[in-house]
Symmetry: D2
Subunit: 170 residues, 4 copies
């Protein structure tokens, strides 16, 4: 059982409600609490790279994430990320041709807001990170997608293969 | 993407509080609701075999579960199950030598009671069911275990490989 | 036991996360669901007047709320309302000198987002609406305040009497 | 604003799931956490008298609760209590003829198990404790009942006045 590295970048996954200003924002990551609640006994190493909305990410941020994937001592990595530009970051990381299994995951609804998909996605991500061969993947909706064959359907908020629009009842 | 069959047998996973008698019991399964909350877009076929505490299962129940695994049209199966005798049922199913990937999962805390590990486990189970080779596995604590090399540690409620007692802070 | 009228105007109380656009907004009121969860057996009549952020309320909205308080067949009323301008609306209603017990309440964190104070506040509001004499009150933080002696402390998000700043650990 | 004393005795209100033995039991009270989540700014003094199922209470326990009501420095008291014998304890306390407002409250579903009525009831209890005249009351279902005119309807789990059976949709 190899150690798994988790690189936290923020995204909806980690957003919470700020009751003073009435907006959604970032405080601290909930990833550690989530692994504990999941009673996860894997050897997990969590590193917070940034806490941001993925719409505000620049190439510099993506380069920083990629460098951290490269420099990580672990070969099985999970990157938590906003869903809006998750495919772009996956594409950026893939260009580095790292010989590692890198899984990007996130949530459509913040973990702290109740009824979130995030906890389920993290459970899937940790499983796919252990079993998929080297490559860059997006894990959402109970599925994994190769980075070069996935898009976010903005109308219904699900990930799908290119050219295969789906309309689930969610 | 192959269809995944889910065979529900009850267990802590599906227990809920009965406010009239003050006890924990079974009403209906929450598995379908959980896949929906997880925004799962896989083709999932859920079948309720029984709703019971795994301590009350007999060989007849295990035979019935095994028969359903065998007769299922799907090659990737998830069996939700109480944790107390999950290893026994896995062993029973394994004896049938089915050429399928069969993943048993459950929860240490009921899904409906808050702070449950069940939703995380289901996310892991659905991922392992897609990626592991044919065989019978237990999926708990973010990990998968081969049926012949796993035990439940009754003191702390985690699954571990035989002879490898672990003491996680949970 | 007299019937209690509930006039819904929106506010943080009823906000929810929209997972397509990633913002907080209004869908439907959760007040009915909350009374059911609270196992409330009072005779409650819920009327949705508007679903809006109280910062966007105009005098016309306040007049509409006041008219509905006046025209309601009930003498014990709860008005759910955003906290930002709750005092202004209470002042507006009070100017109408209605011979009714009118309680304004709300939440600092949306009911649907977990860890909300809203359910507690609604429990308090329904109790104060039954026991306080005619007048206009704000019910928050387990307390009731007369409309002419209350302010929202914007720094920590609690209501307090005029000139009595408090700094609770919340 | 007078200080309010809270005497904790356990009951369903404070039960939680023990994931090692799979039963419901008592660990620590959640009352303090609940007042914090409710953002309550009242001066509250919480005292844990016992943590038990009210079906197991004896006269000695009821005497102990009554003595604590009597000896408390506060005139406004909340007693958290199991619902099964709440009326008996209210009757016992009433016999002491204390010149205080004493409100007994509880929950039909444990606070920690999700979808609980307990948080709503606590909000009501704290309000009624401030506004009702001296006497002993049961606060459940959004209502208050005088100790000598209340019974628990065991079929549907709601409190009602004597001789007035109700059948709410809950």
């Amino acid at each position: 059982m190899e150690k798994i590295g988790v690189l936290v970048t923020g995204g909806t996954f980690d957003k919470d409600y700020d009751l003073i200003n009435g907006n959604l924002g970032f405080n601290q990551t909930h990833v550690s609490e989530m692994f504990k609640r999941g009673r996860c006994t894997l050897d997990i190493d969590i590193q917070v790279l940034m806490m941001m909305d993925s719409l505000e990410m620049t190439e510099a941020h993506r380069q920083y994430i990629t460098n951290n994937c490269d420099n990580s001592p672990y070969n099985h990595l999970i990157v938590t990320h906003g869903t809006d530009t998750m495919v772009q970051t996956a594409t950026f990381i893939a260009a580095a041709n790292l010989d590692k299994t890198i899984v990007l995951t996130g949530a459509m609804r913040p973990y702290k807001l109740g009824s979130s998909d995030g906890f389920f996605n993290l459970g899937s991500a940790v499983a796919f990170a252990q079993t998929l061969p080297s490559g860059v993947y997006i894990v959402m909706n109970g599925r994994y997608f190769n980075w070069e064959n996935v898009q976010k359907n903005k109308a219904n908020g699900v990930f799908e293969e290119l050219g295969k629009t789906i309309s689930p009842e969610l």
